[in-house]
Symmetry: C2
Subunit: 240 residues, 2 copies
Amino acid sequence: MLTNFPPGNSRLKAKQLFEGLPPEEINKLLSEGATHVFRKGEIIFREGGIPTGVFHIKSGKVKKYKTTATGAEQIIYICAEGELLGYHALLSEERYSDSTAALVTSEITFISKETFLGVLSRSSALSNRLLKLLGLEFSGFIDSFTNLATKNVRERLAFNLLMLEEKFRDGKKTDAVDIMLSRTDLANMTGTAKETLVRLLKEFKQKNLIQTTSNSVRIIDREGVIAEANFMGKQTPGKK
Amino acid sequence: MLTNFPPGNSRLKAKQLFEGLPPEEINKLLSEGATHVFRKGEIIFREGGIPTGVFHIKSGKVKKYKTTATGAEQIIYICAEGELLGYHALLSEERYSDSTAALVTSEITFISKETFLGVLSRSSALSNRLLKLLGLEFSGFIDSFTNLATKNVRERLAFNLLMLEEKFRDGKKTDAVDIMLSRTDLANMTGTAKETLVRLLKEFKQKNLIQTTSNSVRIIDREGVIAEANFMGKQTPGKK
DNA sequence: CGGACAATTGAAGCCGGTCAAAACTGGTGG
DNA sequence: CCACCAGTTTTGACCGGCTTCAATTGTCCG
């Protein structure tokens, strides 16, 4: 069973990491750090690097990914405006376990290790929110993990499209959400080859579930995509 | 690339969750709760259940798993002596996102929500250790995730065997570690069918990498298993 | 307008899932 | 102590979903 539905929903809560914190703490965190603009494709930090702070996404979108020995890239997660990057490594006092790159031009505020840990050590509000956020991240991650392990590519793609629709909604209540992701990124996220991905998108399109352009996907039949994701297991409709 | 090698290594650190804490805090946590014995197969908590506390493994081994709509079981993680269970849901204030069952007869100490959160709110030492633990868990989880997504079953199995060898070592320095897991559990952990798993074990056995009994696996050629896991990608040996 | 990169289509083959059946194991009671 | 039974492991055969390789088409910018 799925813990969060629709998938990716928990991000709304994740974004509130700083919400409810005393304004002076938020200020301290965000005002000191320099904001830097990363263009599409630019890398914010690399797997294996030593963390010197955390990054706050002021605007834009980034992908967290891991590069395998064979050169393949597995996308772990997509982060959007308001989310924090790189704190796992800082908390665990290890090197980065994954890399992060901008998917679109993004404004990223750097918060130094000293500042972040300093505020954290003095603020139980922040550490509580962080603990809660990490707990939430886990349930979402476990869903993705189980999906990967037990579902076929078609179902995973449908699942990811639903998740991405939430990510790319950007707060807007628009019906039409453009998932702006290259076919390669979509494939690397779904854990499949780009050729397979393209073929499945074509099928979905022919079934009138989605619209596609060369660099985006838009869901036009949400229920249909949910059906493809097959959350309930294959069974006679109406029958338990 | 792999962040933790050998895989599963970070458990050593995870076990130290309570280490370094003031003795009275540890005492408070562990002395109040009732210890219950779970026999093999018994369920400690179920996905979807409302958490009322956390569980500390005094002895034994448990599996964290998720059941899919089609009835398949995906094992997320194996926990051993000294590890804590069920805190993710408590921290995120959500229902359990997975289930936990005993793999062998296990003594589990229940710590009530009030006690745990009470100590947590007053102890920055505990919350710091918890944050660190969660950060560590992430990097391990990301490794597993990437493995699942980018490697074939043979490589994943080898990876899991190496990880499980650490889990089942139980502190002993013995060379011979028996991985006591049913074929089905091993398959559910690797994300494959039990028939495929059995065939691969047979191959490994024929290559003299492992020994098997009907309910355990033992690595006898560690280097060989590492080679099967193919951490470095297929390439001419010696060549970069 | 051209050139580089991304997306798409086609064809071939294998990895791994599924179904079915046989062999084996451990535990139980006669 | 042995025969039996239920559950698990193992083996066999089949085939379909995906990957891979190769080639074509499409798209975006300088």
